[in-house]
């Protein structure tokens, strides 16, 4: 076709905080085809995880992604605990849920902010990030770090949360909830937001499974799938119900994430109220044996899967990481065609791409 032009979007693009490149084929202003080009963040962490000691890997896998780092560590530890048959003390399970949900909370706020930024709603962006800082403050208070908290260890968690801090978490999330009540309705009902998101980048329920999508994107297409439903860790005691939306467009994805922020706040309250006392770390001896295990958890962006295989030494035979964005990227090739070029940033953002996860 003579009128087709190919526009490379990225790797350095103002809307994406990360280097993702999309080669968009356009006919006039309409996108007809898209090819994602990756590789700007590939480091080779899976191989490095084979070279390191298996206890060091906890820190390495946290650095796959700086936004959901704690959840990466939880998933890796779960796989190792499965291989070595380590039972966790109940308090550790709950603490993992608390930190995990705090991560989800700040990640969703980050995303809601970026969404607002992608269609030029600067003040909403700032507002979300302002609230997000409060969550980071809690993380800093309880662990000493804002982003990569390194609180997870094989056999439990490295630190306890004191009663004072638990109380403080409760007051902070109350405050956050109040503030969110003021701005989340903007995302859900403002006409300018709706104009940019409703009916944009639709994925129908029937196609969703073949595209392999996971997480909020899948739930926005009407499929109730959430790894937390398997009840890993302490989730089995928290009566978890996934958030599901039907329309499958960018708007539905925003609504799913907005509702999930409230859900996380609810889960945090429940977990803190039920928190049992006791040990936080089980001691273990030796190395992972010759065995393999698969573990999965739910990240803010979707389902995370680890395959870990030990060989009896302190090094592991294989660590395989399947991150949620890796599964969501193929869906872009179905969302983008037929849309206007100007919609591309919003659509790409709607899957909440985390390129450092994707490429590891």
């Amino acid at each position: 076709m003579s009128t087709r032009t190919v526009i490379p979007m990225g790797p350095q693009h103002p809307v994406f905080p990360e280097p993702l490149q999309l080669k968009l084929s356009l006919k006039d202003e309409k996108i007809v085809d898209v090819a994602p080009a990756l590789g700007y963040v590939h480091r080779g962490i899976e191989k490095a995880a084979e070279k390191n000691d298996f206890t060091q890997n906890v820190f390495l896998v946290e650095r796959i992604c700086g936004i959901c780092s704690f959840i990466h560590a939880v998933c890796y530890c779960m796989a190792i605990e499965d291989i070595m048959k380590i039972e966790l003390p109940p308090r550790a399970n709950y603490l993992r849920v608390i930190w995990g949900e705090l991560h989800r909370l700040h990640s969703h706020m980050l995303w809601l902010g970026l969404l607002a930024d992608s269609f030029g709603f600067e003040s909403l962006f700032m507002k979300f990030w302002e609230i997000r800082e409060r969550i980071l403050d809690i993380l800093e208070k309880t662990t000493g770090a804002r982003v990569i908290i390194s609180a997870c260890a094989i056999g439990g968690v490295r630190r306890d949360i004191s009663d004072e801090h638990l109380q403080e978490i409760l007051t902070v999330i109350d405050k956050c909830e109040k503030e969110l009540n003021g701005i989340i309705p903007v995302v859900m009902s403002d006409t300018t937001v709706k104009r940019r998101t409703v009916g944009v980048g639709v994925i129908e329920k029937e196609k969703a499974i073949h595209l392999g999508i996971v997480g909020p994107v899948l739930r926005a297409s009407g499929i109730a799938q959430d790894a937390r439903m398997t009840g890993y860790g302490a989730y089995k005691y928290l009566d978890f119900k996934p958030v599901v939306e039907e329309s499958g467009d960018c708007y539905a994805r925003a609504v799913v994430r907005a509702k999930e922020t409230y859900q996380s706040i609810g889960l945090l309250r429940k977990a803190i109220n039920q928190l049992p006392s006791g040990d936080i770390l089980t001691k273990y001896k030796g190395n992972p044996g010759k065995a393999a295990a698969v573990s999965r958890v739910e990240q803010p962006r979707g389902e995370l899967i680890y395959y870990v295989e030990g060989n009896g030494t302190k090094n592991l035979e294989r660590v395989r990481v399947r991150t949620p964005t890796f599964s969501n990227v193929p869906a872009l090739s179905k969302m983008l065609p037929g849309m206007e070029l100007a919609d591309a940033p919003v659509i790409v953002l709607s899957i909440d791409p985390c390129i450092s996860c994707t490429e590891r």
């Binding site: 080779g44 595209l211 010759k290 065995a291 999965r296 030990g310 035979e317 395989r320 193929p330 869906a331």
Partner: protein
């Protein structure tokens, strides 16, 4: 968690519990069936087993996982699943690039340059024999 495999040449490697063995010939048929039953393809894991590749395909339906285990010689071509599950193209391209697994009928082919730069070493994930 695992049982040790009885076949002599793979004795030293563990097998994922509950994994179902398949071969190149019945892979496509089996996966088609799973697709009809409503399974989601989660991912595939490739392992370097000396002379062979061991590939696990992980599926999920209603929160239960199902694993298919495929052992292939390094020169053999594995049929691509990307025509059944579109999402497989990225997984398979990754295996092709990092392990050098050969696939037939890949839907989108990055030509072994998905993650790595044009001048990088190829198949970095293979076990290094002399180190």
């Amino acid at each position: 968690m695992t049982q040790t495999d009885t076949q002599p040449q793979e004795k030293q490697f563990p097998v994922l519990e509950g994994a179902e063995n398949i071969t190149i010939d019945n892979l496509t048929a089996r996966v088609k069936k799973l697709d009809e039953e409503g399974y989601r393809l989660l991912t595939a894991t490739c392992l370097d087993r000396g002379e062979k590749y061991e590939i696990y395909y992980h599926f999920d339906k209603d929160l239960t996982m199902l694993h298919l285990r495929l052992l292939v010689n390094k020169e053999e071509e594995v049929p691509s699943l990307s025509l059944i599950y579109l999402c497989a193209f990225l997984i398979e391209n990754e295996m092709k690039e990092l392990f050098g697994v050969k696939f037939s009928g890949l839907f989108v082919n990055y030509g072994g340059r998905l993650f790595l730069g044009e001048d990088s070493d190829i198949t970095p994930m293979l076990k290094c024999v002399d180190c």
